[in-house]
Symmetry: C2
Subunit: 202 residues, 2 copies
């Protein structure tokens, strides 16, 4: 998705070989027009599947699940992160180890919102280690729902997330696949070429 | 907002005199069409103010900030909840005591995303004790931005939140104002009448 890659080049802040901050337009401040475009793109990519529900995880996946739900005309569900499962309602849950925060949590979805009649598209902002997304895939399968696939806004292709999902037989599509990055430079998978970042005047 | 009140009557689960669950359509599973309607309603109500940015707090405010940002054609910012402020970037922050969880946290917004040129509309899903919203109001003022007002989807009018905000000179508008509730019955402020809930067949 060229408009997204261009925006990452212009506004993304690469803090190290693995840390990319995109909080000026994707996950702290959110460009609503771009988020809607992202939702339409996921709807287009997965148009061959009759999706009934979009699934994501709080918090930074919500704007993209919302946009995708709007584009598809379906509701979305956001899984909640809990230290331990103590919900009154019955939930599907999966353990997730957060590498950035070094802690384990449970990702939970109330059972009444996912079931065998659902065809689910999972979306999230980042695909890196894949830990949270693997948890969501497990929940969809535990619910007996059909999984249309996983759509991610930004993929760090040099981390293991895609491999883990594909091993589970999951179709993965990311709108911007970063093959490598370092401060001042980000390379996308589409053409493999180096794309020097142009810093806009502030 | 009649469509919202009707939905609360039909699908809201009143667990006690103070606890209302609306997670089938507002804050776990989200009806995207209804969320868009809610955004349009906030845009209509605050149409006299030239809003440049919508502000909310993660996670359950995000879908309504997104919808309001779409309706107004502006970006939104979601404040993050932190145990302690350890962000690398400079942030505005305010302490918030969560009554439901019995813990205190910091609500934070990176300074580069709010400033004196902004006219801010704050939105959230619930107005009850007002703790989080008072924190957001303090952040807007600390940033030197102008506050257009606070829009809430559901207000529990029998709790102190509205009073706390109005004491700070804040204009508050809620789309469904609940004056009292108990299992099987919810009363809205609009007409003061009792609205027995009609439970749909599942």
């Amino acid at each position: 998705m060229e408009i997204l890659q261009e925006r990452i080049r212009r506004e993304g802040r690469i803090l190290s070989d693995t840390v990319l901050k995109v909080d000026s337009f994707l996950n702290h401040q959110v460009d609503t027009a771009l988020a809607l475009e992202i939702g339409r793109e996921f709807a287009r990519i997965f148009a061959d599947k009759p999706v009934t529900k979009v699934l994501t995880i709080e918090a930074s996946g919500i704007q993209f699940a919302m946009a995708t739900g709007i584009a598809l005309g379906v509701p979305f569900v956001y899984a909640k992160k809990k230290k331990a499962v103590t919900l009154a309602d019955k939930v599907y849950s999966a353990p997730v180890r957060s590498f950035t925060r070094g802690e384990e949590y449970q990702v939970c979805v109330a059972q009444q919102y996912l079931g065998p009649s659902d065809k689910v598209l999972i979306v999230d902002d980042f695909l890196a280690t894949g830990a949270a997304l693997v948890g969501l895939v497990d929940i969809v399968r535990e619910a007996g729902a059909e999984l249309a696939g996983v759509g991610c806004v930004i993929e760090k292709s040099f981390q293991e997330g895609r491999g883990l999902l594909e091993e589970k037989g999951v179709r993965v599509h990311s709108l911007a696949r970063i093959v490598s990055m370092s401060p001042g430079d980000v390379r996308f998978a589409d053409n493999g070429s180096s794309n020097p970042r142009i810093k806009e005047p502030v």
